[in-house]
Symmetry: C2
Subunit: 196 residues, 2 copies
């Protein structure tokens, strides 16, 4: 199910902040929750300004019982034309996507879209820092993979090759991000090593 | 009415591309439409990658008649915590807001929010290019104003001063952007002059 549910998001957000105090373990928490927590921490300490873009929605019918309380009565999820996260870090433009899988041996490329890859290519071409955060939920492991390393796998897929990235390739081409307390998925530490 | 309506947006988008072929005049077209057209042109010619963020919506109830056709049945507009537009240009992070008024002599600060100003301050602090596009609809004039020039007016407002920016100040502190054919609101040309 590709469609994020706003209500669920709010519930899990509350659950996550309570849970974070008890344990660094990530089981049961979504990658999105972890990244939101991380981005909020980066904001709080003024380290970076990175936000998740709102879910794109095509609004069809809105009720205005009062001016201050418009209710959307009919709307549809739209496919995102870009990645989900972007912002600025140490003066640089940062742009990334996040995906998780329950698979333990490979990462399916199915839930990445062609136009997202094209967007990522453009970002790299224009000098931005672009990457993907991949989580193997069953293994409780999260990896940072530079967009440049992702493209060859996409190229292979388009040319009739495998439709996934093997786990071993991700551990080799990517960088493992150990879970932490406040900056739970501390991807900026990888950026520090790679670009500064 | 601060709330953008998705349906209306689609209709006006079609109207705008038809209209753009006939005249450079902007009457009847919204600033948002013009910026979207401009950003699409920048994308098409690979000059910059700048997108409008989706309207933030709190989704409460979703119907799944079939997996492929989720219908949002209840949702609410949320206040944006950032500006509406961001992206990358010549390797730099770009971030801006756009507002229009029907007033001919001043620009009311009422529809800019405190947290948007705070966001803009942070962007400037982190080395991003940040500004606001202001349109006087009745005059058919659009201005680029650097965030740094906007802050003093906001500061005055918070301290009991005037709640608007006089037209004359905008013409002095800002840069007029003449309407053009393809890059209708060619704000990158102002950035070129200011930062490169």
């Amino acid at each position: 199910m590709n469609y994020p549910n706003g209500q669920k998001k709010v519930i899990s957000k509350k659950a996550s902040s309570g849970r974070a105090n008890k344990s660094f373990s990530n089981r049961g928490m979504s990658l999105e929750d972890d990244i939101n927590t991380t981005n909020q921490f980066y904001l709080d300490v003024n380290r970076a300004i990175i936000h998740k873009k709102p879910t794109p929605v095509q609004i069809v019918n809105v009720d205005y019982p009062r001016r201050s309380a418009a209710v959307i009565k009919e709307a549809y999820f739209k496919q995102a034309s870009t990645t989900d996260y972007n912002g600025i870090y140490r003066g640089k433009y940062v742009d990334f996507e996040a995906k998780e899988t329950k698979n333990k041996t490979l990462f399916p490329l199915a839930n990445i879209h062609e136009h997202q890859i094209n967007h990522m290519r453009s970002i790299v071409e224009h000098g931005g820092i672009c990457f993907i955060l991949l989580r193997f939920a069953a293994l409780d492991e999260t990896y940072y993979m530079q967009a440049e390393k992702l493209f060859p796998y996409w190229h292979d897929k388009l040319n009739g090759g495998r439709k996934s990235i093997p786990y071993e390739s991700i551990t080799q081409d990517g960088f493992h991000i150990p879970l932490q307390y406040q900056a739970r998925v501390d991807y900026l530490s990888i950026i520090d090593k790679l670009y500064f």
